[in-house]
Amino acid sequence: MKALILLSSLGVIALLAEIFSFKKLMYPIVLLGLIGTFILNLSDWDTNQTYYNMMRYDNYAVAFSSVIIGIAFLWFLMSESFFKAADSMSDHYALILFALVGAVIMVSFVNMTMLFLGIEILSISMYVLAGSNKHDISSNESAFKYLIMGSFATGFLLFGVALIYGATGSFDLSEIKIFILSHQGNVAPIFYAGVLLMLVGMAFKVSAAPFHFWAPDVYQGAPTVITAFMATIVKTAAFAAFLRLFSNAFSNVSDSYAGIIAVMAAITLLVGNISAVLQTSTKRMLAYSSIAHAGYMLLALVAANSYSNSAILFYTAAYSIGSIGTFCILNLVANAKGNDTVEAFNGLGKTNPLLAFVMTLALLSLAGIPPTAGFFAKYYIFTAAFYSGYTGLVIIAVIASLIGVYYYFRLIIAMYFKDSTDEVPVDQNNHQLLLILVAVAIIALGLFPDFIIRLL
């Protein structure tokens, strides 16, 4: 809770920055503030505080908040220029910080109204940020699409909440669970309709097929740093909320939806990976890859066993770190070369060895090759799904990972095998720290995953 208060205050301070003209100081203030938030957040470990039956800071919430705040820190390291370039930068700071507030609420709710509030706080900020490149038509398109489609999804979610409230008389997760237990066999059918509607709403937020159609356009149109934010922090928060909702409130009716999620996972894996192969724009490819990764995480969701929580925690952390690395490098390369095709990466191994090395590491991690974090994340998810008997699904996931290797390696081959037309190195100053942090984190998580998976 202290973390949430500090985070909100940072957002308010950002708004004041314009009035009292200390805009230039905002960047260090935010970085320090995030470090403070991270520490305050950790101080809630094992306290299990509940606030008015609305939010509970159990270890699940603290762990996912830490991932979100940690990734946000890395994200700020990559996005300094985004804030510098904007003419309304304090608004951007405020929007991002409020989005983080929404994300933290999404991982700590115990009441469906808080879930809804969290999602909305996050989403509304993201709608605006997706269009933050005001004069770029595709950024406008992106924001507009995201708003329209996102509103639809929110509508579904709200419908679901209403129906479930109608059936059980409560918004509270544990009360809903108790209600189901005490009325086994004669829960009103509208309850199941409600669960299904919420499932659709959440599937939209995590961009799982067949509710993923917004993602590629939105990801491609939005400024790259905002895309990175959506692909990492938003996705982490959405998955944590998805899992928290379904494993706490609906776990006793899992038979009614497990099959649906399993099918969704299979479709997401195949659609995401196969579509990614066909892209020429790297950014769009990463958008599809992000859809594909949602598919892997759905495996843990459908497995719904004692591994699920830590599997998703580890996966989101590993995936987010890899994605921050790739998006950061993509942003640098695209700015330098003026386009984001695979060819833009040609010869990067020669001109920028550090960039190419970190990119390779991040891509290997996304592809799931040992000894990177991504490998253990995948392994752990597979184990979780195997454990619950979804062997077929795991085999599909294995095939999907093989397809994944194809498009990730296209970039590696471009960087090391092809020669660039111009030998101009990409400007990588200011990002060395981030790149090294990402590289160390990928290896460290891959070699020593134990300390994270023990948490939950």
């Binding site: 090759i369 040992p370 184990t383 290797v405 390696f409 081959i413 095998f417």
Partner: protein
């Protein structure tokens, strides 16, 4: 402790090499590889000739999942570690006459590869084994991608995806076994053995197929070999040597350590088919080798034939077969590295590998002709060379399993002699032509490599006992275990 040192010394050396980034990268790498060889020789002197796992280290790693950094060596592992540490300095030495661009990265990758290979051979934990298994793929991929020949991007990628597909199947098999371990799940090898044996026949069959695919692709066995000739041909010479000399043995070692003892009933069900494929591969690859025009490609195919026999011997699951396989793994490693180096020498001097274009090199450079001949005789398994004992034991092992298979597998000896001797005749004998007439004498490092290899070929052919003795107790124990499980 010494096992841990063997794994991490090359890695440290590789990191050091990156830091120093000097012009003398190759010398530093060679020195490191020789020190590593020294460590392994020291291990041999300390080794007790029993079937027990020695030099063990067991450090908790991901303890919440029962994954440990558990390494150790029995005779089987030790011989393969010895092969690796013996070949890597030689492979580095073979590159002394080639100016690779970006040498620091090149030698760093070779040393990193060595670390992963040794890790594979000493792992006693399923998860650790898998990690090293995959880890070995990354350096060799970049070696082939960055220093390979024509069309390398496509070919190395095919290689990568092929082997990765196999490994992922193996991972599924390992996870399946892991979930059948008793009590708190663990990846410890002994527990996995027990878990494998506790499965019913059809489950064992599935695990067998999943894991066999990984090993079959790595070796490779017909019909999973299609990546191999292209990859071997395009890879830089040192890459080809690493692939054929050592990496291939990951597959055969996998059969011995991670397949036969794990799912004996699976072997009973599918072993026949697996041997059949191996034997088909022997004949098929030999026939294709005969019609090859490119000498490097010819050796690539001959390697498929040799490894087919090794795999058939292992899958026959008797002492002669497995012991023969151990010997042949060592011999094949030495011989194939020698052959690929000879290709490299010829190519550097004549700019061609086409057998028909060459001729009469013996007239120009008789010294080279003799060394080539010795390597070649080892490869065609002439008595008193290293190839002979291995091949003899292997055929003996396969014969005990089935006389028919042995007859077919025996063809490999004849066909092998045909294509090897024919190409020798065409390359070395006959009239010296315009291409070969200026065939320069061997340089110091070239001579050193070939002499060391030839000495190994002859020494091992004449007196193989010391090396045989190292593996024998472990092999007997392993085969007995499998036979008991099969109720023989």
């Amino acid at each position: 402790m010494i096992t841990v040192l063997l794994i991490f010394f090359p890695l440290l050396a590789a990191l050091l090499l990156l830091l120093v980034n000097s012009e003398r990268a190759k010398n530093i790498a060679l020195l490191a590889a020789i020190v590593e060889f020294g460590i392994s020789v020291f291990a041999i002197t300390q080794f007790q000739h029993t079937a027990n796992v020695q030099f063990e280290a067991n450090i908790p790693w991901i303890s919440s999942l029962g994954i440990n950094f558990h390494v150790g060596m029995d005779g089987i592992s030790l011989l393969l570690v010895l092969l690796t540490t013996f070949l890597v300095p030689i492979i580095i030495l073979t590159s002394f006459n080639t100016e690779h661009k970006n040498p620091t990265s090149f030698y760093t990758l070779i040393l990193a590869m060595q670390m992963a290979l040794i890790g594979v051979f000493v792992s006693l934990d399923g998860f650790l084994f898998y990690v090293f298994w995959e880890l070995a793929l990354i350096p060799i991929y970049f070696i082939c991608l960055m220093w390979g020949g024509e069309n390398r991007a496509k070919i190395t990628f095919k290689f990568f995806v092929y082997t990765l597909a196999g490994s992922l199947l193996m991972l599924l098999g390992l996870i399946f076994l892991y979930q059948h371990t008793a009590g708190p799940h663990t990846f410890d090898i002994d527990e996995l053995y027990l878990a494998g044996k506790s499965l019913n026949a059809s489950e064992q069959g599935f695990v067998f197929l999943a894991m066999f695919m990984a090993f079959a692709i790595k070796m490779p066995i017909f019909p999973f070999h299609t990546w191999q000739p292209d990859t071997y041909t395009t890879a830089p010479t040192q890459g080809t040597m690493l692939l054929s000399g050592i990496m291939l043995k990951m597959g055969t070692y996998g059969l011995i350590r991670w397949l036969l003892p794990v799912v004996p009933l699976g072997l009973q069900q599918w072993g026949h088919l697996a041997i059949l494929l191996s034997v088909i591969g022997i004949v098929y690859a030999s026939c294709i080798a005969i019609v090859q025009k490119d000498f490097k490609r010819l050796i690539a195919y001959s390697s498929i034939a040799h490894v087919g026999l090794i795999s058939a011997g292992i899958l026959a699951a008797n002492v002669q077969g497995v012991q023969g396989a151990m010997i042949q793994m060592l011999s094949h490693g030495v011989n194939v590295v020698g052959l690929f180096f000879i290709v490299d020498i010829i190519q550097q001097r004549t700019q061609t590998r086409e057998i028909a274009a060459l001729g009469g090199i013996r007239n120009v450079n008789p010294q080279f002709a003799v060394l080539f001949l010795i390597v070649l005789l080892g490869s065609v398994a002439l008595p008193l060379t290293n190839g002979f004992i291995g091949e003899f034991l292997l055929l003996n092992g396969v014969y005990q399993y089935s006389a028919g298979f042995a007859a077919f597998a025996g063809l490999s000896v004849i066909l092998g002699a045909v294509y090897m001797l024919r190409s020798y005749q065409s390359i070395m004998l006959g009239e010296t032509n315009a291409i070969t007439t200026g065939f320069a004498p061997l340089s110091g490092s070239e001579k050193a490599v070939l002499v060391i290899l030839c000495a190994a070929i002859i020494a091992f052919g004449v007196y193989p006992k010391p090396l045989l003795d190292i593996a024998e107790p472990s092999v007997i124990k392993l085969v007995e275990g499998v036979q008991t499980a099969l109720g023989k």
